[in-house]
């Protein structure tokens, strides 16, 4: 298990905006140990179970990351960070309840959804509805392997062509370089089709 390191809100932000994955793991551990109990306790109070708490916390932390990464949110204090996690968990829970209700009452689906969303419209809520990142992840899935791994390793984790070639057992770095460009071309094509 990672040793838990305490971070200030500004350190959390700068790590999440960096590309240092070991640091990102450490910050995730910090956020998990700091806010998972609060979020889980809220979900249990609302009648949710362990799986609900797990799913909602996962969504909350991803939303938080996307907002921080895209410069839309920058917490100034730990209290603000905690409030943010609870607020997003609350919105997520409402959304889940709505989805459950929709399943039961198909006829009222449209009205219920819009009324409640209007009532709970917040910057966080707007981001929750921003599906850009999820859409991109779907395209990445379509891209398939090994392209997905090559691109994420090179552009995401910033590994060198040599390291990726070794990881994927492709001996020749030049071949890997060509392969990487092919994958990037394929991704561009898929994205343009998706638009």
């Amino acid at each position: 298990m990672n040793q838990r390191i305490n971070y200030t809100p500004s350190q959390v932000v700068s790590v999440l905006r960096s590309n240092v994955h070991t640091e990102i793991e450490s910050v995730t551990t910090f956020l998990y140990t700091s806010f998972k109990p609060v979020v889980a306790s809220y979900i249990f109070k609302q009648g949710g179970d362990y799986e609900d708490a797990k799913d909602i916390f996962q969504d909350v932390i991803l939303i938080f990351f996307r907002q921080v990464y895209t410069l839309k949110f920058e917490p100034k204090s730990f209290k603000e960070l905690e409030g943010y996690f609870i607020k997003i968990a609350h919105n997520k829970w409402l959304k889940k309840k709505q989805a459950d209700e929709r399943r039961e009452q198909r006829e009222n689906e449209y009205t219920n959804q819009h009324e409640t969303l209007k009532d709970t419209k917040t910057p966080q809520n707007q981001l929750e509805n921003d599906e850009n990142s999820n859409a991109f992840n779907e395209v990445l899935k379509k891209l398939g392997e090994p392209c997905r791994t090559i691109l994420l390793a090179y552009y995401g984790e910033e590994l060198s062509i040599k390291e990726i070639a070794a990881q994927l057992n492709i001996g020749n770095p030049d071949a890997m370089k060509v392969r990487k460009f092919r994958c990037l071309e394929k991704l561009k094509t898929l994205l343009s089709k998706n638009e």
């Binding site: 994955h21 990102i24 793991e25 916390f57 932390i61 990351f65 060509v178 991704l187």
Partner: protein, 231 residues
Amino acid sequence: MNNQENFHRLELIEKYCNNTLSPSEILEFEELYKNDSTLAEEVEEYKKIVDLLRMSSVEKTILSTLERLENEDRALESSPIKSYKAAFFLLITTLAACVIFVLYASLTAVELPDFENDLTIVRNTEQSVLTFDDKEVLDNLSRGQRCFKDGNFSKAVEHFENVLDSQNTIRPYYQEAAEWHLIVSYLKNDQVKDAKRLYKQMDNCSEYVYPISSLDKIKLWWQIFWANLLK
């Protein structure tokens, strides 16, 4: 544009964005930029894709870390270490409860129920017609009880022994009352062996008429045990 040209173009864009163009490549890129209006768009597109790839990669790391943390939490919930800890905690709690109970039994006074001064104490005797011996038994019993209450245990021992030595057949209730009082009196009077012997004898009985509580019996056992040990 063939594949080779395409890759070269992409490589130039990548190097331009990473600021790693060589001097000759800079010239080539600037030339291209002047003559190709789509290059600027391609640069922006490249930046956007790289940004999305970075985000996706970080999300992947966050999700795998969360998955690991959740698994570690679950493993900890069901780990033998946690079970051992719970068992150890239970054991310590039980031991502490036992120690507290033993201390309570060893240090608090045994409370024997008072017995009534019943004139029919001597069996087969009419109330109004008591022999001298019968009167003596009754007298010893009441004096024994008084000495017991006053804390004069040596005298209490004497009186209760007289009751039990009597040749008359007294009611089991009073006999047992005298015996239990005698055990406590022996104990208080430092006659631990006598207390132990009589307790053992009483403990072997299966039925009691005199209503001594189980708790008081346990208290007596522990007090005899400690007195015997410390002697």
